[in-house]
């Protein structure tokens, strides 16, 4: 905790002399100043919003967005009630059919209603985490291997450098076509759209992790490597006992970068491919062009930002937890 407050002090870069004494000062820095910043932003937002006339009406201010949060939540509640009624009707219908036709094996079908805003948030979170975890599984071993071997590194590096700056939107059509060509089970466990989004996310957040892991592994203190050599540790033990612990801070730095990329990529991919999630929500609202659309999109923007922030904080906390070397965790 100490480090954070010191860093925060450095960050603001100015000190009010009469207040710079102990608790009061840090309370102001940690609570009051961000609050002032947020209030100023809200004020600026509502003033500018009033002055922007779009063809869908005025640009939504904070009040309109708050109203939409409420509306979205009550829509979610209503949808849940409808779902309940759907299952009840279904059971009745199944019972009736069994009575008429005893050979029928009743099955409960999933609710066919539309995903609500909250469902879309959950979908996006699940997708981003799956894509990210898949990337971790591929990138960390690859990074370790390239970090350990100069030869492999020279071979892999050009490919990594070329694919790293590719936008998700360029990958998406290819991923879509390949998935629909290869994934052709009659009764799929996961939806194709989910796979598309997930693989696109994986492809885009692979590279920062590979690079960071490789750099971390290559930069291990030569003393540590020498210890391993003296002890004649076999290759796997070497990785397990020396390489992994030594490069964990860098690996996590890469992971944190990647997760940020993953979240941004996902929203774009969902928007373009109309795959379920927050991106689709934004696109649908844009297409609807109703007078509430802009406020709903703004609500989604805030949620996307907030979730991105939480993901980053979560990764930061994990990074700190595993770091013996605090310099990497800033």
């Amino acid at each position: 905790m100490n480090t954070t407050s010191v860093n925060a002090g450095k960050l603001y870069g100015f000190r009010l002399p009469q207040l710079d004494s102990g608790l009061v000062g840090s309370a102001i820095r940690l609570v009051a100043l961000p609050l002032v910043g947020i209030l100023a932003f809200l004020l600026l937002w509502s003033v500018t919003a009033q002055n922007i006339d779009t063809s869908l009406g005025k640009f939504p201010g904070p009040a309109a967005v708050l109203e939409q949060f409420d509306a979205l939540y009550s829509e979610h509640q209503r949808s849940r009630e409808k779902e309940q009624a759907f299952y009840e009707r279904q059971e009745e219908r199944n019972a009736k059919r069994v009575a008429e036709d005893p050979s029928y094996e009743p099955r409960i079908r999933a609710y066919t209603g539309k995903e609500t805003f909250i469902d879309q948030i959950v979908t996006s979170l699940v997708t981003v985490m799956s894509g990210f975890l898949l990337a971790v599984v591929i990138a960390v071993p690859l990074g370790i291997a390239t970090g350990l071997s100069k030869t492999l590194n020279s071979a892999v590096n050009p490919i990594v450098q070329i694919f790293k700056p590719v936008s998700p939107l360029a990958w998406l059509p290819l991923v879509t076509m390949v998935v629909s060509a290869l994934y052709t089970t009659p009764d799929p466990i996961v939806a194709k759209s989910f796979l598309n989004s997930m693989i696109t996310v994986t492809l885009c957040c692979l590279w920062p992790m590979v690079i960071n892991t490789a750099v971390g592994v290559a930069g291990i203190d030569s003393d540590l490597v020498n210890v391993s050599k003296v002890l004649r540790l076999p290759a796997l033990r070497h990785v397990q006992k020396i390489v992994l612990p030594a490069s964990v801070p860098m690996i996590f730095t890469g992971m944190r970068l990647s997760l940020g990329v993953a979240w941004m990529v996902l929203i774009a991919a969902e928007m373009l491919a109309q795959n379920p999630g927050l991106g689709k929500f934004v696109w649908d609202e844009f297409q609807n062009g109703s007078s509430d659309s802009l406020a709903r999109i703004m609500a989604a923007v805030l949620v996307i930002g907030f979730i991105g922030f939480l993901l980053d904080r979560g990764m930061l906390a994990m990074q700190k937890l595993v770091s013996w070397d605090n310099s990497a965790a800033q």
Binding site: S55, R89, R93, T112, K114, Q274, D284, G289, S290
Partner: protein, 460 residues
Amino acid sequence: MQWKKPFTKLAATLALAMGFVSSATTVSAEKLGYPEKEELTFGFIKLTDMAPIAIAYEKGFFEDEGLYVTIEAQANWKVLLDGVIDGRLDGAHMLAGQPIAATMGFGTKADIITPFSMDLNGNGITVSNAIWEEMKPNIPKMADGRPVHPIKADALKPVVEKYKADGKPFNMGMVFPVSTHNYELRYWLAAGGIHPGYYAPHKGDISGQIDADALLSVTPPPQMPATLEAGTIYGYCVGEPWNQQAVFKDIGVPVVTDYEIWKDNPEKVFGITREFAEKYPNTTVRVTRALIRAAMWLDENNNANRPEAVKILSQSNYVGADYEVIANSMTGTFEYEKGDKREVPDFNVFFRYNATYPYYSDAIWYLTQMRRWGQISEDKPDDWYKELAAKVYRPDIYEAAAKSLIAEKLAKAEQFPDFATEDGFRDPQTHFIDGIVYNGKEPNQYIDKFSIGLKSGQKL
């Protein structure tokens, strides 16, 4: 309500018993079986004429058939068609031209059929405010100063000529190369002497702009107003609510509805693959039954249910536009210039005038227009038109659905065409904006009547 319960129960038991007796006495083949596939996904484009699908879902007509349907909005017509072809969608709200073109192999080749025609009319042509100002002096006025309707493209012709003389391309938007909107816009333009351009697929030219005065290009329906606003196009032809949206946003003026171009013209159809219909015959008939009931509900008691339908359509998962925008056209009026709201009771027809029956002659009209504009590059005999129409339009499935609804007293026989004598051809249609008569039995003769367009024997 408690007192009612025993009675309803009794009624239900009786009905069940009677059903049992009747099914036991009649031939078993006549009773409609359970659906082979119960979980279905249907696609749609955000347009008010998707209403039968939304209503069949919301009013429980699908569930009454034992079908659990998920309804998904699609990004554009191409994505939607591909979805049906690759099986991601089991069926969809389609442009009438899509199943025909797919079966013929113009664009993606696939066997798509339609057992159910979704509606009549429902489109409009909108021009930007600037173009409207230039058109206005050319339009005759009524006593109260409002323009006389229908407005013909003659009023637009000088504007297009001016743009052409200035070397500026006159761009207009329509929703898909084989969409009703493309043919309606072309029909209207050509009737006013503006050439909308030819296609030449045999030469690899599918832009449809050969010899064109007005350059037509594709824009997805919900993006029409935004594209008009951006100035990329000067006008467009699209379904509702995207014409009324332009009025509300104050960015354009609808000048003519397709009702005025061709009174009671067939619009969307419900498309499925032939494979689906063969593999799941009961499901197909049951889907058709649910859609027929939805269409009946939409037109019941002189459009009495329309306000409720508009409320459903304005939900963000269906069309999602504001209630007022959708209501403008769905409830029997149409707002042209801001404030100029006129009665068009038949702007959206879902069931009246046998709107849902898949007439061969409707399919053939689209084929004649494909030939007229070169999408069909060579002459075809009249029989070819009839055979293709019979391949795509399937009144036999419709008939099975309608008859079973009549048998279950969910509909009356007089609400449908007389199946014993119906041959699938409407009487010659006389209500076109240019007065040309269309007889579905003589497609080639019809094509030769137009002054602009390919005639028999012509090839680009």
